[in-house]
Amino acid sequence: MDAKGNLQRKQIVEILDRTRRGHIGSALSVLEIVRVLYDSVLKVDPKNPEWDERDRFILSKGHGCLALYVQLAEKGFFPKKELFKFCAADGILGGHPEKATTPGVEASTGSLGHGLSIATGIALAGQIDKKEFRTFALLGDGECDEGSVWEAALFATKHKLDRLVAVVDRNQMQCYSATRDVLDLEPFAEKWKTFGFEVRECDGHDPAELSRIFSEIPFRAGKPSCLICRTVKGKGIPFLENNPEWHHKARISDEEMQALRSAVEAR
């Protein structure tokens, strides 16, 4: 984690002050991944979100949306003041990303196991039309319990979608508890390899490492890529880290708000 990571965590805490609810643990888990994508990987145009040649990014684990909204606001897809109307009646930012309301959101997600399928279709359309753009889907590891993820993986391999990248936020936690207790995914990297992906693993909170690995896409010509990012759910706020109570928190109290603020200020 670096200075920008701290700054964005402070921003997320300030956003929560208004709504007092959100999937904060997931947002902090994917924060560096989404940030690096928007800072140095994705070719997008905030002035023209529907630009044909853009790279596509789908936050398949839609509940991590605070991390996405912070990047989209920073890049100018919408005014920063919208961030502070997260989940509010007069806002454009819902508790899960929605294409119809939020500029820069590629697909409405929130129900798990949809994003990779949508991404394969976008990548296939690009392949039919011989386009250069790339398509990224960011999945949670808990999301990989869904069978549709593996249906999509088989499809991506069959069609040699090497402009498709499945990025997995491997924080080893899901809503109830640890993934190994709820539904063990191991050997996880091996599964993606067996399904035909070229797989890399990295520290999902190290912007330099993420940036370097993303620059190597496709990891192998003719194969879809999978990047498994080792992350910590709630990263950067000690009492949130790996704490299932903060998977989705509603009615955050004044005391909890103060504790969140103190934690991000202390860094």
Binding site: E106, S108, T120, G121, L124, A125
Partner: protein
């Protein structure tokens, strides 16, 4: 009807490069000509309907118009969430062609019987729902689906369905098609119930009653004005469908009349809200469950008493 439908998809593909065909492990030889002429737009995929609907959402987001064909139940029941969210919420131009609407696959048992497909699809906002009555009508309607905004569900009948004939008016998507006029009672159909209604009208004529028939190949959006033009002058109406009572055509018509405070004597002839545990042919099951010209005529006579 399936042949007419898929041939029309092939014809569309010839004229429009956006058209893509996707099947999920359906019968060998399906659309061989399409595959031969447009191999980069023909996709025969695995048994993975949920994924494929999501995948087609991605295709449609990127400018393609996918036509998808597999068994109706595996589209409407298996992939419902992908239909609702990926297609409905994004209002994408994906066309879902459900083989074996109604009881066509009754010999194969309840997993393959699609008697609630229209009800399910009606709950998806912006979903256009088509249930043509015969191959000729399918041939007229399918090309019109290309430019429809949002998703479209197309219910296929058995194939070799009795041609309906009737008045020589064109089947325009989104309209009711008047098959015959009569001032006593109006019979309202969708899908192959059009044939049932035409036969029922002939039976009624023998009993001295003049029945009109209006056929809704487009159940959603429902064209109430077309219904109203025919229903306003009759004493009663009977809706007829190869579908359960809940959420189908009869339900659509009753809701539309109630919403407008229009009082008419009405009966719904449809399958009961129950699982079908009998096998046998489509004809057999229609008879077993009272979706026949005789029951429709009897329902009409009862209302006209």
């Amino acid at each position: 009807m399936r042949k007419a439908c898929l041939e029309a998809v092939y014809a569309l593909a010839k004229k429009d490069p956006r058209v893509v065909f996707v099947g999920s492990d359906i019968g060998s030889g399906t659309l061989d000509a399409f595959k031969r002429d447009f191999p980069d737009r023909f996709f025969m995929e695995g048994v993975s309907e949920g994924h494929l609907v999501g995948m087609m959402a991605g295709l449609a987001m990127t400018g393609k118009v996918p036509y998808f064909n597999t068994i109706a139940t595996f589209i409407t029941r298996r992939a419902f969430e992908q239909i609702f969210l990926d297609l409905g919420l994004h209002q994408l131009k994906v066309r879902l062609i459900g083989s074996g609407g109604g009881t066509v696959y009754a010999p194969l048992g309840p997993t393959h019987v699609a008697l609630e497909d229209i009800a399910l699809m009606r709950t998806v906002p912006g979903m256009t729902i088509l249930a043509p009555c015969d191959a000729a009508e399918m041939k007229q309607l399918l090309p019109q689906t290309l430019e429809v905004e949002g998703p479209v569900y197309i219910r296929l009948a058995k194939g070799g369905d009795t041609p309906v004939g009737g008045l020589e008016n064109e089947s325009r998507l989104g309209t009711g098609r008047v098959l015959r006029r009569g001032e006593d009672v109006l019979l309202v159909s969708t899908g192959v119930a059009a044939q049932v209604c035409m036969s029922a009208a002939a039976l009624l004529e023998k009993q001295g009653k003049k029945a009109g028939v209006i056929h809704f190949h487009t159940v959603n959006p429902f064209n109430f004005n077309d219904l109203y033009k025919e229903v306003k002058n009759v004493r009663a109406l009977v809706t007829v469908e190869e579908h359960v009572l809940t959420g189908g055509l009869g339900s659509t018509v009753a809701e539309a009349l109630a919403d407008r405070q229009i009082q008419k004597k009405m009966k719904r002839v449809a399958f009961p809200d129950a699982f079908v545990h009998r096998y046998g042919s489509q004809d057999f099951l229609m008879k077993q469950h009272g979706v026949t010209p005789e029951t429709v005529a009897a329902a009409a006579m009862e209302l006209l008493k």
